[in-house]
Amino acid sequence: MSAPFLWIFLPLTLAGLLMLLRNQKVIALIACIFTLFLTLAAWLLPIDTAITIGNVSFKLSSSFEILGRHLVLGSADRSLLALIYGSAIVWFAVAPAVKTARRLTSLGLAITALLVAALAVEPFLYAALLIEMAVLLSIPLLSAPGQRPGKGLIRFLIFQTLAMPFILFSGWLLAGIEANPSDLGLVQQAAILIGLGFSFLLAVFPFYSWIPLLTEESSPYTVGFILWMFPTVTIFFGLGFLDHYTWLRDAPTLGSVLTTVGILMVVSGGLLAAFQQHLGRIMGYAVIMETGFSILTLSLGGTVGLNIFFMLFVPRTLSLVVWALALTILKEHSPTLILGDIKGLVRIWPFATSGLVLANLALAGMPLLAGFPPHQAIWEGLASKSLPTVIWVLTGNLGLFFSAVRVMLVFAAAPEGAHWESRETVAQRILLAIGFLALLLLGLFPQWVLPLWTKLPAIFTHLGQ
């Protein structure tokens, strides 16, 4: 058996089978057990090394040939696979609590497998095609049942589809540069095409208008999953570019371009979040900020930047899960999520409202919460390079913090004499309580998740050195 078969084709097959089932809990249980198996396999099974259990000996080969090209998952990729599938378990396990398990687990598993294939395909530029296929699969997931596709969904489809030609064509130019590295004209053209391709894929400023629209019109939980999965894999794909092409990695303007783009996203995301009236849109802008922070970590360069980039992974996943879960619970029962219409909700939905505010504060980099350690590392790294840069970044953080305070005040503005109650289900309360605890514990003991990302830089031959 080959590693791509285990981590790509098997999940794709199971995703197809899960679509045939109807019971949400059964679907979620099967998906969680299977994803847990994939995570443990990634953690424990060596690739390209013979394993002997009793009389049985087998080897998991790293390569799988398909139509003359290869899908390759080597030993270095194991920690990444464990992290991707491990995070997917969290999303799938929570899904039944908000009744989205049927669509999310089957389509989500297929999307995860396709995005893993995107990271495994060689030549790696073909990843753009696999990402596009994952985008197409995510359309049924994002569209609200019984409603016409909204503007956000249409823009998501357009922008993500437009990214593919740019990335593919830049690949052809990059091959030309490898043959003739002194051709500055070609380098410039390739850089523009790569830049445009990734701007569309990562929803970089100003191509991110679809994110707040989508978080407003679709189920927050499914949007949360998509907004966690796609930027994560796209940045890994982008890191692959940097790792593969020396001229790109060593370009003197790369650092300043990444810093500018990152700041634009953090500042615009933070400031726009501060003035939003819709809870869903605030989450959208927080995601934009997070992508900005990821780009900023890459601008720091070297292994330091790479390590901080990986540090962001767990707190972001956790915060997004809690935020999306809380928002979905509120959306199911509130006519709108506009601030004016949700006054005093803390008395009726104490767990959901607290979870939402806590996740918001965590992503804003609030001390003692999970988001603080990586954000502090980013501020420190940026401050050592340029003080104005870190002031801009803090402005963005302050914007998101301000939005959390605003939301908290609205939630607390209950009419006099309103009684306290908790309308969340037992499962929702337990999941949200686990979320609070995890957000707090990771803020206090960030070293606990250290083993999860210490091996990740090894995926990249040059960047990780």
């Binding site: 398909i66 139509l67 003359g68 090209r69 073909y126 095609l129 696999l130 596009e132 296929m133 197409l136 699969l137 359309i139 049924p140 569209s143 019984g146 409603q147 016409r148 596709p149 503007k151 249409i154 489809l157 357009i158 589809t161 437009l162 593919m164 030609p165 593919l168 064509f169 052809w172």
Partner: protein, 194 residues
């Protein structure tokens, strides 16, 4: 002879892409898209073996069939968009601008990529017209037509530089996926009009 046929394919691409912009009836839209794939087939086969280029034609026609069947099950009332200019004159004018701009670009691109002018122009023209379609319409069906047109234009250009079977297969899957997405959009319940 082949050069003349290339120019003829370009003419078909031009007529069909402008027609896609002007006609509001979905039947015309799908018919024109199906004819457009004939020109794409011809322009792609100048660089690819006929068997592989034919895959593009078949995929394109399958996409048209998917969209057509999906449209048969939907509300026949044509929706109008209030926010964008509706006039044919406006659309013709913008199409003219795209034609001129892509012609200027294709003069450089044909030299740079070593392609014939009709192939480079045909490709850029379809990309431009597709982008125009995306820019002036927010209707899901029109958006899908626009995306398919953009991809068709890109595929002509990309065929000149890449001949991998895997890429051809994945691009076909993406085209079919887009058509299925369009069908999914069309079959979502229509919002009640006020």
């Amino acid at each position: 002879m082949i050069t003349i046929l290339n120019w003829f394919a370009l003419l078909i691409a031009l007529v069909t892409s402008v027609g896609l912009l002007l006609h509001r009836d979905w039947r015309w839209g799908i018919g024109l898209l199906a004819i457009q794939y004939l020109s794409i087939f011809w322009l792609v086969q100048t660089h690819w073996p006929v068997s592989m280029a034919a895959a593009k034609l078949v995929t394109g026609w399958m996409a048209c069939a998917v969209l057509g069947i999906a449209h048969l099950n939907t509300d026949p009332a044509e929706e109008t968009e209030a926010s964008w200019p509706q006039g044919r004159l406006f659309r013709l004018f913008t199409a003219g601008i795209i034609m001129a701009a892509t012609f200027a670009l294709s003069l450089r691109a044909s030299g740079w990529l070593g392609l014939g002018l009709p192939i480079a122009w045909g490709s850029l023209l379809l990309v431009g017209m597709g982008l125009l379609q995306l820019g002036i319409s927010a209707q899901p069906f029109r958006v899908i037509l626009g995306l398919l047109t953009v991809l068709a234009g890109f595929e002509i250009l990309y065929a000149a530089v890449e001949s991998s079977t895997l890429v051809a297969a994945l691009l076909s899957a993406v085209n079919l996926g887009l058509a299925l997405t369009g069908a999914y959009f069309l079959n979502m319940p229509q919002e009640e009009k006020p």
